[in-house]
């Protein structure tokens, strides 16, 4: 197979290394390299020596690459299947609808990459050149990078533990020839774990312009989004606001609206009030959204008259507003 097998773990710049043992005292600790838990850790020698620890060698390279990227936006959600990837794709498509705007999508969902399918480029492959890996282009000004382009077959499972995933993410940031970008939209897997920590840590120096949190109206999803908000506050990532997906369902036969995922606790609106965040908008559940994603089509271009399209466009305008790009 290709480059991913050589993906190596890079030591982490902040707090714990990604390959630290369970009870790692922390690299900054005086006990670093000296406690029982350090036995067998790959970093023990570095920690135990009292020499000052140099920064992660990947960081300057990432900073250099990212210097040409104006805006970096994360799409997050604690819960899976709420529409992170669909929203990422719509956001990027909307940015790229302006011919002069260069947009990139980076899919860091390593175990379940959906972005290639949603953008209709699932059979593409990554090519290497002297300036790095070339992203796959959906159109002239929309480049995409995903682990999905690197698998010999779409059936292959990526059974990787954290350190290997982190290695690939660092490669996506430093080895991909993104070129000059106006926007880089990062699609993440559900949760608050390795992928999220790594993206935040690697991009710390270059700066993340903001995170969009995606949720669905039911409490089970909101609970996970509250955890994601807590995560953003802990790591200091600015939140642009909350997007509520799958909000109401309009029956195509009788046009009656019903709630499939009932907002039993007030939905995203209540959550936004409680947390002091902005509710960027609610997108109704339209079966055609999922269908467009399955076929790799842009929903807002296919169904410009749908209420969901209006909702999407309003949200995207609001995001540009907040970023000061409107």
């Amino acid at each position: 197979m290709i480059a991913i097998q050589t993906a190596t773990a890079v030591p982490n710049p902040i707090s714990l290394p990604s390959n630290a043992p369970e009870h790692c005292p922390g690299t900054e600790s005086e006990l670093a390299g000296k406690v029982d838990a350090c036995a067998g850790c790959a970093n023990q020698d570095i920690c135990a020596s009292s020499e000052p620890k140099g920064p992660d060698p990947a960081l300057p390279l990432i900073k250099q690459r990212m210097a040409n990227v104006k805006r970096k936006i994360l799409v997050l959600s604690g819960k899976g299947g709420v529409g992170k990837s669909t929203f990422t794709a719509q956001l990027a498509w909307a940015f790229a609808s302006d011919d002069d705007t260069q947009t990139g999508i980076m899919d860091v969902d390593i175990c379940g990459p959906s972005i290639p399918t949603i953008l209709g480029i699932a059979s593409e492959q990554v090519h290497a050149s002297s300036s790095g890996w070339s992203p796959v282009y959906v159109q002239d000004n929309l480049g995409v990078m995903s682990v999905g382009f690197m698998l010999p077959s779409s059936k292959d499972a990526v059974m990787w533990r954290g350190p290997k995933k982190n290695g690939l993410i660092s490669q996506f940031l430093k080895d991909v020839d993104w070129g000059d970008l106006d926007y880089l939209v990062v699609d993440t897997p559900p949760g608050t774990s390795d992928e999220h920590l790594s993206v935040v840590q690697y991009l710390k120096e270059s700066g993340i312009d903001g995170a969009v949190l995606v949720t669905t109206p039911q409490e089970v999803a909101l609970q996970d989004v509250r955890r994601e908000i807590d995560f953003c506050r802990k790591v200091g990532v600015r939140m642009l606001g909350i997007v509520e997906n799958m909000a109401g369902f309009v029956c195509p036969k009788c046009n009656g609206e019903s709630q499939i995922f009932k907002p039993t606790t007030g939905g995203a609106k209540r959550l936004a009030e409680e947390t002091g965040l902005e509710l960027l908008g609610s997108v109704p559940l339209d079966p055609r959204i999922g269908k467009s994603a399955d076929h790799g089509l842009s929903f807002i271009d296919e169904y410009p008259d749908s209420p969901a399209t209006t909702a999407y466009l309003d949200i995207i305008d609001r995001i540009k507003d907040i970023l000061g790009d409107a």
Binding site: K155, M159, V220, P252, P287
Partner: protein
């Protein structure tokens, strides 16, 4: 293999069947299927003893679904005492990282090795006792949690099996195929595939809409030679029940309310036939 004696194998030797609920994709209903599976197995016999373990460490949903939000775990000399969803009857044991958090909005920001340690503790330190079934709910993907589960449970591998959950759209099915490759790679038995969110009945006119398409799961099961266990339509009654904050049981009041209400949902009847299939093949 049987000679391997680890804290995990000692603890899980008294569990007859361990069923891991998997899906490559998030939000397809792993937790709701796990909860339904546990409730249906519990209801299948008046003496059935069932456990449910939630290893979705950064997004635990099981406590909320079983009406156990806010409960805590107690230590005993013989290990952690799980939270019993049916109160004093103590036949439905539940364990989740959600019970260990002080505040439900706290995030668990852990990298792989810490998650691995937590899972080992869940498997070795929880006082499950004698169980007929242990249902394990997993996070999406095929990564740390899944590999850790399989590694720690290697000594009891013969008791393991799995169920794969999907929704009908192509994006979800792709991840399911990856999940299936995972089960093959780790030699994990699969009972079959459940298609969730297959169609939605409009409450106004009764029209069935295929919100997330339909039939994709069954087609895939046929292609991959996998038993198809059944399809579950979107059941708003069930969504509401599993999302409600109503406590599972009240001190002094008889009965197990979540179970009683679950039995009256349309999904419970469909799920019963799924459980029958599992019981038959496990007998």
């Amino acid at each position: 293999m049987a000679s391997q004696d680890t804290p995990v194998s000692r603890r899980l030797r008294s569990v007859k069947h361990i069923i891991i609920v998997l899906s490559g994709k998030g939000g397809v209903g792993k937790s709701s299927v796990s909860a339904q599976l546990a409730l249906s197995l519990y209801a299948s016999s008046p003496t059935a003893r069932v456990g449910i373990l939630d290893v979705d460490l950064t997004g635990p949903s099981i406590p909320r679904m079983l009406g156990l939000d806010g409960h805590g775990v107690h230590q005993s000399t013989d290990g952690w005492v799980p939270v019993y969803a049916d109160g004093s009857e103590a036949r439905l044991a539940c364990m989740s990282v959600g019970f260990l958090l002080k505040n439900k909005a706290d995030s668990v920001v852990w990298r792989g090795p810490k998650k691995n340690g937590m899972i080992r503790q869940f498997l070795s330190d929880v006082r499950w006792g004698e169980l007929d079934y242990l249902v394990i709910d997993t996070p999406p993907g095929t990564s740390d949690e899944h590999l850790s589960l399989l590694e720690h449970m290697a000594p009891v591998h013969s008791q393991l099996s799995s169920i794969i959950v999907t929704t009908p759209q192509a994006v979800a099915l792709m991840d399911v195929i990856k999940c299936l490759s995972f089960t093959k790679a780790v030699n994990l038995a699969v009972w079959g595939l459940i298609e969730n969110m297959s169609g939605y009945v409009c409450p106004c006119c009764g029209e069935i809409s295929n919100v997330f398409s339909t039939g994709g799961g069954e087609d895939m099961a046929r292609k991959e030679g996998l038993p198809f266990l059944g399809s579950l339509p979107v059941d708003t009654e069930l969504v509401t029940l599993l999302d409600a904050s109503e406590p599972a049981w009240m001190d002094g009041a008889p009965g197990f309310r979540v179970l009683e209400r679950y039995k009256s949902t349309p999904s419970a009847r469909i799920f019963e036939s799924i459980v029958q299939k599992i019981l038959q093949s496990s007998a």
